[in-house]
Amino acid sequence: MPTQPAAPLWGKTMDQNAIQPLLTVRNCRQSYHKEASADLVVLDDVDLTLQEGEIVGLLGRSGSGKSTLLRIVSGLLKPTAGEVKWRGETLHGPAAGVAMVFQSFALFPWLTVQENVELGLEALGVKKHEREERSEEAIDLIGLGGYDGAYPKELSGGMRQRVGLARALVVHPDLLLMDEPFSALDVLTAETLRTDLIDLWMDKKLPVKSVLIVTHNIEEAVLMCDRILVFSSNPGRVAHELTVPFAHPRNRFDPAFRQLVDDIYGIMTRRAPKEVQAAPAVPPTGFATPLHPVGTNLMAGLLETLSSPPYDGRADLPALAAALQYEADELLPLGETLGMLGFAELEEGDLILTETGKRFAEAETEDRKEIFATQLKAHVPLINAIRAVIDQRSNHRASAVRFRDELEDHMSPEYAEETLRTVISWGRYAEIFEYDEEAQQFGLEEEDEEEA
């Protein structure tokens, strides 16, 4: 970042002692109405208060409702219940003074950098002269000078997100909302953007009073935020709130930093507070448990890694994630799936291989399929249900549509589709059934058919 005078360029000063919070969210709930059964709850009983001068992170896995909360805060989405107050007044739509940065950048490909940046000002009816002046200022601040006339498709991902940032900053919002702003970028580019943003924030050059950032990257949250809200899934709730006590600039390799990251991993892998504790060692999964779309090759790869040195059956999740270049968001569903199938166990941020998992890792292809089939039949009721229907039919065929419909009674259509896809892929690998995509029908292999 070029060094610039530290004077507040934007004619605003931050007031740390503001009495009135910028934003309050009380008892917020978001659910989708289902005709057949109970409502599908995405967010449940969420509270959030934002003061001026802080960067707050919403951390959670995909599907934990954190992006939904961001959209509610932005005024794009109306919560099913609860109240959202912006500067003390109930929010009824996208508010002036709130600007958003998108994960996909969301730039208009047919507008130049400058036109993209000016978009928000046009909507406000700002005159041409002032528009140009302000967009120039924002473009320079964010390090895009010289790119004014370029189209987004000519820019790299990092440059595109800078345009997204400039477009949000140019309207001088009080609150900057960021929806996984760096997750579509490569590691180095993301790091540069993060530090540039934090530098501007510390130098008080950002024309914003507060930042709310959604992320699934634990290190990113610890690196940037003053306060982190950790979300749990199904339904999305604030499971934990913690303050990050470190001063900027923060050092990723500082032991205290590492410890905090480790602690958050622990929080995120901790089981939901003892609702199903009476159950056997492996938690039972109902017919309609959403399945993570984890491929069998990926599972096999992780089990092999886990069983060989240096892990030898036990791995610390942050370390494993770093070694495999995974983010928590990607690794956790993988670990959970292994746990569900009885191949491994998750414990306070550690992944531990079970006996079955070890056997699988050491087996040959055909044996692996058999082990996998056994585990599927033991732990995934959906697969048994499908096989049972196939066996009942005289022609040994069953329509996938009926299972999708049944799943949709219990989850959103997207999850139902994902779960069905996953179960098809697993069932095919384990050779429990065949699937005809064209007819959308389950069936049996010929030899099985003769037996049955």
Binding site: W110, A123, K153, E154
Partner: protein, 575 residues
């Protein structure tokens, strides 16, 4: 070249009650049109000064200009229709339920069959004035252009990227601003492409609509179409060749001055994140972009347009999306009842209109004729496939040949085939050939090029790594066609074939009956049936013929093309 899904293929596969209602509404509307037209048919029409068409070629530039002007007037109305109709259909759930099926039916109705009545209708609006005939001509061209443009725009509006919509809302753009900043630009590539297809198809209708015979009066508007009609009557072969030459020049100019620059320019609006390798800039676009004078004019115009697009005009649309809100059942019920009532009224009108003059055996007759025409279309498609698939693949796999042949095929598709009819008719008359067989190729003479250029595009887009794999495994001969090339180009072939077959049905109305001086040739078919009924002023049979043809076309699309296209795209793409 991009392969856009033809609008015919876009809708649902199975007909439902909305299609029924839409069919009733469309037919009812057409009958109302005919009714009004028939009412005015008896009023004296001699008042209009009948234009004399001179066969001297020096008049041709002027005639060509008049024809082109009609084309652009129709285009203007088509755009207006597209922006309003499609927007309404996309933004209002209730309006969309009925507007979309209506559009689907409209694009299958051969409006050419109604040429006489629309002419009379517009003449009735402006009695004794040339204006009426001009408007009638523009209207016919409009009906050949508007539907697929509107469909393309509607499809774009329903697939707007979610994040850009959120940007528009969170930065609080007004609906007007969003329309010009997001909706129109996003729809632009598909809209430009469909506009071009429409224009190409439009020339055919320009030519057909300039000389319309009602009873024993012929209305002529100065233009290339009426020039050809006069030449036919006077058996002047030389004049016909002049007309063909003039048309070639017009299409060439339109292709170079408008078509190519516009398509190249619209690439800017492609919704993709990587910069595509673009072909050479058309010289016209280069001229517009690089020349000082043109640039200044361009900047003034776009500057003024942007200022208009930037106006807020309204302050609404800053509301939240409320996902838990259910649409009001009561309003829905009211809306459904209203549509059902209007459809029932239209149905009653239709029955009243045809029951007086028609019997069941008329329907049988029309169906039989329809079957004849269907047979023709099917044979033609098969012949076109056998000829153009190998040729297209050969060209498409050779980049150099593609660069030369692709523009020629597109150019030929735009050429109005009805100008080429007279020489063929002359040959049939001269050699006493069977009209039933030899008039048939005329139906496809103009639209076969769609098959060719889509196949070329498909073969040219065939992935390089797959070509290498095929060479590596020594896949040749019949196996190569069966397992590699035909599946590879199938979606493209179907895209072309559907355009071609749709055009062939429409063309049958002018292609199954042809005349040269006093000789009139007629083949057996639904097109000839409609044309004859029109000539006799038998409105009931025209309506019946058109309805039967629309039903044939819709059924064809629904039970053949749509499943085939869905299958082809599903099977031949990864992921």
């Amino acid at each position: 070249m991009t392969n856009y899904t033809p609008s015919i293929l876009a809708g649902r596969r199975l007909p439902n009650r909305w299609d029924g209602a839409a069919l009733l509404l469309v037919m009812g509307l057409l009958i109302a049109l005919v009714d009004v037209g028939r009412g005015t048919i008896s009023t004296p029409i001699a008042a209009i000064q009948n234009t004399t068409i001179h066969l001297d070629p020096s008049y041709l530039p002027y005639y060509a200009l008049r024809s082109t002007a009609r084309m652009f007037a129709a285009l203007f109305f088509s755009l207006l229709f597209t922006f309003t109709y499609a927007t309404l259909a996309a933004k209002s759930r209730r309006a969309g339920m009925v507007l979309v099926p209506i559009l689907d039916i409209l694009q299958s109705v051969p409006i050419l069959g109604f040429l006489t009545f629309t002419t009379v209708f517009f003449m009735g609006l402006f009695p004794g004035k040339v204006m009426g005939a001009e408007l009638a001509s523009v209207f016919v061209i409009f009906t050949s252009q508007a539907w697929n443009m509107a469909f393309s725009f509607y499809q774009s509006l329903t697939t707007l990227p979610n994040d850009l919509q959120e940007v528009s809302r969170s930065f609080r753009l007004s609906p007007w601003q969003k329309f010009w900043r997001l909706d129109v630009p996003f729809a632009m590539p598909g809209l430009v492409w469909n506009t071009m297809l429409s224009m190409s198809g439009g020339w055919f209708f320009v030519v057909a609509s300039e000389a319309v015979t009602v009873g024993n009066t012929t209305f002529t508007l100065p233009g290339i179409g009426s020039y050809v009609a006069t030449a036919l009557r006077e058996e002047n072969l030389r004049a016909i060749f002049y007309a063909i030459l003039a048309m070639l020049v017009v299409i060439l100019l339109y292709d170079q001055l408008i078509f190519r620059p516009l398509v190249a320019w619209s690439a800017k609006f492609r919704f993709e994140t990587t910069a595509a390798i673009s072909g050479p800039e058309p010289w016209m676009l280069k001229l517009l972009r690089r020349t000082q004078l043109f640039r200044e004019i361009g900047e003034t115009v776009t500057g003024a347009m942007r200022a208009v697009f930037r106006l807020r005009l309204s302050f609404a649309a800053t509301r939240q999306v409320d996902e838990s809100r259910e649409p009001s059942r009561a309003v829905d019920a009211l809306w459904f009842t209203a549509i059902a009532l209007v459809a029932a009224y239209a149905g009653w009108k239709i029955i009243g209109f045809i029951s007086g003059t028609l019997h069941w055996h008329d329907l049988g007759q029309a169906m039989l004729m329809g079957t004849f025409t269907m047979l023709r279309v099917t044979v033609l498609m098969a012949v076109a496939a056998i000829i153009w698939v190998p040729v297209g693949v050969w060209i498409g796999l050779r980049p150099k040949a593609t660069r030369i042949a692709q523009p020629i095929a597109q150019f030929l598709a735009a050429f109005p085939a009805n100008l080429l009819f007279p020489p063929v008719v002359l040959l049939i008359v001269y050699y006493h050939l069977s009209a039933d067989i030899w008039l048939t190729p005329l139906m496809l003479i103009g639209t076969q090029w769609y098959v060719l250029f889509n196949v070329i595009a498909g073969a040219a887009a065939f992935p390089g790594d797959m070509k290498e794999a095929v060479a590596n495994f020594h896949i040749q001969g019949w196996l190569w066609w069966r397992k590699v090339m035909i599946p590879g180009i199938l979606p493209y072939f179907i895209t072309g074939a559907i355009t071609a077959s749709g055009g062939a049905w429409n063309a049958s109305i002018v292609a199954e009956v042809a005349s040269w001086g006093n000789h009139t040739l007629a083949a057996h078919g639904l097109g000839a049936y409609i044309a004859e009924a029109t000539a006799n002023g038998d409105t009931a049979r025209v309506v019946l013929g058109v309805a039967v043809m629309a039903t044939f076309v819709i059924t064809f699309n629904r039970i053949l093309w749509r499943p085939l296209y869905a299958y082809a795209t599903r099977r031949t793409t990864l992921g």
